[in-house]
Symmetry: C2
Subunit: 142 residues, 2 copies
Amino acid sequence: MTVIFSKKCEYGLQAVLYLAANERGIESADDIAKNLNIPKEFVSKILQSLTVSGIVISKKGKAGGFALAQDPKKIKLIDIVAAIDGLTMFNNCVLGFPNCNPTKPCPLHDKWGVLRTQTYNMLNEDTIDTFKEKTLRKVAAI
Amino acid sequence: MTVIFSKKCEYGLQAVLYLAANERGIESADDIAKNLNIPKEFVSKILQSLTVSGIVISKKGKAGGFALAQDPKKIKLIDIVAAIDGLTMFNNCVLGFPNCNPTKPCPLHDKWGVLRTQTYNMLNEDTIDTFKEKTLRKVAAI
DNA sequence: CTTTAATCAGACAAATAAATCTGATTATAG
DNA sequence: CTATAATCAGATTTATTTGTCTGATTAAAG
Ligand code: SF4
Ligand code: SF4
């Protein structure tokens, strides 16, 4: 069981945070994978897909790799989530009931609705440039 | 993608809420499945496992089925989650970083830690007898 | 120009989760 | 006592997610 996001999405978030934090520009998939201790081929695939979404760019050949496609002051975590897992979870129920709808609230609607929104806001309110320090410290501790 | 809980857990939560809400005592798996619009064999298996956890009881043979093992005033949603998915998610990171630890916080630790606790509280603070009405209304709308 | 180290595309494999099936057992009701 | 309708246990199937492999392409550096 993952929490909220798929592994794909978690790795995507970690990789993009890492790219933003180390400020070295182009970074190889191999390097990213080693530093985050996640499977290289997998994170490589994920970053490939994020090039299509315009979040990272890739450079082929020797000394190639991935880098942010935009200023980290413009990228939010929610952008990465939207690109990988989509945003449907922010319309779904913790209990798995269908048709989430304030007019047909299920038992937890009031409480869950608030938490769901706060989770969304958490991912939407800061740009990833503000996470550099903490990302570096966390990565160092992996 | 499910939200937080596995399908197994979602169905378990729904089934137990349903048993508490309709107050008919023994209810067949077939009936539960039809009313919740979820697979009968699957919910049956899940309820079987919840008998082991002491949350429901089962009665075999004709007119058999499942019923709550305890007074609904004593059952909390967190009990069902603990029995099916376990509670590890309440120690894990949204970003999937390993070693969640306040001394090695990752970028979202402060915010996510709070939301995670509030989610736990949401499942822990009320007993399922308080959900009857809303459950019935939600089930009717499925 | 050749070697090397990287992405890229797409197939493939393994693991996990979700759902179904089968046969046995059990209890009720006629 | 028999027919029926249910749980139960466990195997099996299917779907999805996660992870790996292969071969082609690309670009840098000697
Ligand atoms: S009404 Fe609330 S609890 Fe029910 S499905 Fe919608 S968000 Fe979830
Ligand atoms: S420190 Fe916070 S964000 Fe990081 S893993 Fe722990 S809970 Fe998650």
